[in-house]
Each structure stands twice: as structure tokens, then as C-alpha cells.
């Protein structure tokens, strides 16, 4: 696979040609913050962003996504979106999260056809972090740098961007750039240095102990006072879930047109912190207490999903820390409390 060195202007030209060629979503400024959105011109792309408000998973499992449609006499029909698109500027921790989504939706049990279609329609251009966000701790979670899942990896280095293709799809994407010089040994060294530096500096919070120790730690912490202490201030607003790149729970609803006979069944992001997430008929709620829901989230990240797919389901993006208005959702704080004991 090719490794090239793009000058700023060449990168811009390449991105503009991608935009001319199809659907491109890229990171752009949203006030003082950043968000992935449809990219209209390369000048709007901000590869120097710190973190996006929502993770790029919204293009693989959108906030609301039609699953099937139904009509009178026509029964049910699948709705599959497989229109190709390019996702520009996915940070390593988000890429790691997408890799986990792949494990859940494509490898664990039955394949989710809807996720699969979008995933296969996606060409992912990852990029190494230029500006660490205020709450990132990917360095602690082993996700400051990523080595798989993407089609192209872009790293800003002194003097340009090292651009590496990692799949035939990535090769094809790069072909649109025309003639670009190969990266030199020196450029490669610079890239390595950026990645090494990122492993060290994406640590705005310091996790005590190894991430892989979490399942065991959690195994003995069910009755730890931290759950009650923190959850006392929990709004049950689900913000921590909704901004999380590894959260994927959903609700399913039906909607009809005015005939009441035709319509769609869609899924919408759900959040296990919300009060009725585990409520069933007869009024019973299996996680009625705020603390139970709060605890569930950390167990899911640190124990339940790891037991399923072998990876800690927290990639250290720090979004939940920022999103939590009550300022209680910092996973590092919670896990460190457990490490310290009661």
C-alpha cells in the first residue's frame, strides 16, 4: 500500500476532488466545538480538531434509522441504505470504537444487515490527533493510535500530511489525488514521533492500573459506595450514553402515514441511563434506581462488553466527561475510585 506526503494545498485539492465525486462527511467547526457534517468544500475541513460532539458512528448507525417499511397488502420490506460515502477525519479512538461496533454488529451473533450495508458503503479516512481535547484519555486506553479498520490514515507532520492507504478502497480513493510524492523515511519518522507523542499526551485523566484489569476490578465492586455517591446527582439524561462512540443501544418504534396502514419501523438511539430503559409491562423496572443505571453503564463498558468481544468498551474519547452537566460521568474518576477501594 502507498504512503504519500501531501502538502497542505495538495490535500485540499484531493479533498475537493472527493467532494466533487460523491458524498463526503468531514469534521467542521460548530461554534467553538466540532462536528462531523456534509462537507461542501475542503476549506471547511478541520483536521486539527480536538474532538467532535458526536462520534462518527452516526453515519454507521444514525440517530434514527429506518429498518423496515410496511404497506397495506404489501407486507414488510427491508430499508437498506448502501449509498457510498467518505468519512473524513476519524480520530484513532473513534476508529477503535468503530472496530468494536463491527464486532458487535457484524461478528457477534447475527449480522445486522443495516449496519453492514452502511459500513460497507463507508470509506474511512482516519487521522491522527493534532489537538488533544480537554478530557481525552485515549492514551490510557490504548487507543491514541490505531492500526486497523480505516482505509486511509492521515497524519499531520511538520511540512505536510503523511497519507497511508490501508485497503484497496483506500487506494482507489487516493487515486483521485493525482501525482503526489511518496513519503520519505524522514517523513515516516516524523509520523512515528507524532504517534508516540499522542500516546503520551492524550492523557488528560490518568487511569490507575491497566484497562484490561477492569473486568476483574468491577467483578468485586458491585456494592462500592461510588455508585450511590455519583448517581445522586445524575439527571438520568442519557447524555453520557448518547455522545459515546461505543454505545449502540436502540429503541424501535413504528410510525404510519395518515392511512394508518403504511409506514415505517425505525430505530433510534436509546440510553441505558434513561429511567425507563429496563421498564416492562406491569410497571416493573429492573433498574429503577439511578445508581443501578449509573453502575450498569460502567459495567457495560468495563466488563459486560469486554466479556463479549474481548476489548474494553471505553476508548477514552472523554466525550461523556464533557457532556455530563452534573460532572459525574468521568469514567477515569469512577474506575480510579474502585481501584482505591472504598
Amino acid at each position: 500500500m502507498a504512503i504519500k506526503l501531501f502538502k497542505k494545498a495538495a490535500l485540499k485539492k484531493w479533498v475537493d476532488s472527493l467532494i466533487a465525486g460523491g458524498r463526503v462527511f468531514g469534521v467542521q467547526a460548530k461554534g467553538e466545538r466540532f462536528a462531523f457534517g456534509p462537507l461542501e468544500k475542503a476549506a471547511d475541513l478541520r483536521l486539527d480538531y480536538d474532538v467532535t460532539i458526536l462520534p462518527p458512528k452516526k453515519y454507521l448507525q444514525p440517530q434514527t434509522e429506518d429498518l423496515v417499511k410496511f404497506s397495506k397488502g404489501g407486507g414488510y420490506e427491508s430499508v437498506i441504505d448502501s449509498e457510498p460515502f467518505v468519512l473524513l477525519g476519524v480520530h484513532p479512538y473513534d476508529m477503535a470504537a468503530i472496530n468494536q461496533m463491527d464486532a458487535i454488529f457484524l461478528k457477534d451473533g447475527e449480522v445486522d444487515t443495516h449496519y453492514k450495508a452502511r459500513r460497507e458503503a463507508a470509506t474511512i479516512v482516519a487521522c491522527d490527533v493534532e489537538s488533544p481535547s480537554e478530557n481525552v484519555f485515549a492514551g490510557c486506553m490504548g487507543t491514541a493510535v490505531v492500526d486497523k479498520g480505516y482505509d486511509v490514515l492521515v497524519t499531520a507532520v511538520d511540512g505536510g500530511y503523511v497519507v497511508e492507504t490501508a485497503s484497496p478502497r483506500g487506494e482507489k480513493l487516493l487515486a483521485a489525488a493525482g501525482e503526489v510524492p511518496d513519503a520519505s523515511k524522514k517523513d515516516m519518522k516524523k509520523r512515528k514521533a507524532v504517534q508516540e507523542k499522542n500516546r503520551k499526551r492524550l492523557r488528560k485523566h490518568e487511569l490507575k492500573g491497566e484497562p484490561l484489569g477492569l473486568p476483574c476490578l468491577l467483578g468485586k465492586s458491585e456494592n462500592h459506595p461510588v455508585w450511590e455517591e455519583k448517581a445522586r446527582l445524575c439527571y438520568s439524561c442519557g447524555s453520557c450514553n448518547l455522545v459515546c462512540p461505543t454505545c449502540y443501544c436502540f429503541d424501535v418504534q413504528d410510525d404510519t402515514d395518515w392511512t394508518l396502514e403504511s409506514g415505517r419501523r425505525y430505530r433510534v438511539w436509546d440510553a441505558c441511563l434513561l429511567a425507563d430503559f429496563a421498564a416492562v409491562a406491569g410497571g416493573h423496572n429492573f433498574r429503577k434506581e439511578r445508581a443501578a443505571r449509573f453502575r450498569h453503564r460502567y459495567y457495560r463498558k468495563g466488563k459486560y462488553i469486554p466479556e463479549k468481544i474481548g476489548e474494553i468498551a471505553c476508548v477514552g474519547c472523554g466525550r461523556c466527561i464533557t457532556a455530563c452537566t452534573a460532572k459525574i460521568a468521568n469514567p477515569v474518576e469512577v474506575y480510579n475510585r474502585l481501584t482505591e477501594g472504598c
Binding site: G31, E32, I53, Q63, Y235, S239, Q253, A275, K327
Partner: protein
């Protein structure tokens, strides 16, 4: 199956919620294809009428209106409270923070005692009669209204969020208003509006009412973190949620 008979009534309000029904534009014809509107304003004199669905807009602010809404309840199978005034009393409840005589004097001065200017404590509809379904908001959200009407016609319980506005705010990928040093009621307000205000650069002032079991105690403690006071919080809650359960901060 014959079409359900629909009647719409208004009480003290700005009628902005009914206007949202007009604002369905062409879809009004669809609405009529689903339900059979038999009464829109109270002008119809036939008091023996019964309705399958009664939609009530506005707060109850006078004793005679209490009687009227009771009659409506008796004559309807399903009663829907339309909009904040009907559902929670809305902005009209601000009045309840004052003495009624003082309220009248303030507006009408020496004429305050004229009988037709009489007023009483504002009540939401469910403080007078039982309500089956609510369309929240000031004004209502057209899509939610459609959903409720269709659900009732389908014989299913509408899916009205019980979670707070923050959920939809996150789905819209807004920057949280607290990051702008604003006091937003999103964390304790019932969602369903698509986080309309934060999405337009403003704080949520709670027009959809408090979410069920809102963590108001947390809100009080959290104010500190944003250099706001419990008084500020109370002020904002009072605006649309005066005299609601959980609103006594």
C-alpha cells in the same frame, strides 16, 4: 369502522396551539379523513353531543370554565390536553404566585371588581377532570400532535418521551447551553420538541413541563458548578412550571 368524532375546545390561552393544527396546511385534509370533526369552537349549541375525542386547549381560570370542561369530559371518550396551558397550566400559572385581588387591581385598577373581570387560580385541565393524553409544549409540536392523533385512531398509546430534553439536544449535536454560561432547564424538562430552543441557540425554559421524576435536587447542587444559584434555578422553573409537582425549589 366509522370515523371517530373529534371536538376541539379552547380555554384561557393564546390559541397558538390550535394555530399549529391550521399550520398542518394540506395535511388538515388528511386529518379530516381520519377523524370526523364535529365541533371546533364552542359555537355549536347542541349540548347533547358526544365525542370520541375531545381536544382541550388552554387553562382553566374561572369557575364557569371548570363547569364547562367537566361537561366536555362527560361527553367525551378520550380527552386530550393540547399544549402547555392545558397540560400544565403553562405561563398562565405565573398568576398563581400572586393574590387574585392584587392581580385584578394591577390590570384593571378601580374597575377590578366588575363581575366579568373575575378570575381564579389557574388550573391545568387535569386539575379539574381526568386527562387521557397530553400534547405538551408551548406551542405544541406539529409532528407530535400528528403522532398523538394517529395513535389514538390506531388504538395505541402515543409514545411521548419521559426522558429529558438533553437526549434530543444530544441527538441534534448541539453545544450544551451550560457551555455558554446559560441556565438551561433541559436536564429536567420533558423532551419531545427536538430540543428546539438549544438548537436555536437558547436555553430551554421548560415549556413542555418537568420530566417525570426530574432530579431537581441534583439541579440545585449542580448550579454551583456553573456559578448559578438556586434562586436562579427557581426563577427559571417558575416561568412555565409554577405550582407543579417537583417545582418547589
Amino acid at each position: 369502522m366509522s370515523k371517530p368524532r373529534l371536538a376541539i375546545f379552547d380555554f384561557a390561552c393564546c390559541e397558538g396551539c390550535q394555530l399549529q393544527i391550521v399550520n398542518l396546511e394540506e395535511e388538515i385534509l388528511d386529518l379530516i379523513s381520519l377523524v370526523d370533526p364535529v365541533e371546533w369552537r364552542e359555537a355549536i349549541s347542541d349540548q347533547s353531543d358526544t365525542y370520541d375525542i375531545a381536544i382541550v386547549e388552554g387553562s382553566i381560570t374561572r369557575p364557569e370554565d371548570e363547569e364547562r370542561v367537566k361537561k366536555i369530559r362527560e361527553r367525551s371518550k378520550v380527552l386530550i390536553a393540547l399544549g402547555a396551558c392545558a397540560a400544565i397550566g403553562g405561563v398562565n400559572k405565573l398568576k398563581n404566585n400572586f393574590d387574585m385581588d392584587d392581580v385584578k387591581k394591577c390590570v384593571y385598577g378601580k374597575d377590578a371588581d366588575l363581575p366579568h373581570l373575575n378570575t381564579a387560580m389557574t388550573k391545568a385541565v387535569d386539575e379539574v377532570v381526568p386527562v387521557d393524553f397530553y400534547v405538551h409544549g408551548c406551542p405544541i409540536d406539529r409532528d407530535e400532535f400528528k403522532h398523538v392523533v394517529k395513535s389514538v385512531a390506531l388504538g395505541k398509546k402515543p409514545n411521548i418521551p419521559v426522558y429529558p430534553v438533553c437526549v434530543e439536544c444530544k441527538l441534534r449535536e448541539n453545544v450544551c447551553r451550560y457551555e455558554f454560561n446559560e441556565l438551561c432547564l433541559g436536564p429536567i424538562t420533558r423532551a419531545g420538541c427536538g430540543a428546539r430552543c438549544p438548537s436555536n441557540g437558547s436555553w430551554c425554559f421548560g415549556c413542555r413541563g418537568l420530566a417525570p421524576d426530574p432530579n431537581v435536587d441534583a439541579a440545585k447542587e449542580v448550579m454551583d458548578k456553573y456559578k448559578k444559584t438556586v434562586d436562579d434555578l427557581r426563577d427559571r422553573i417558575l416561568l412555565f412550571n409554577s405550582k407543579q409537582e417537583h417545582a418547589d425549589v
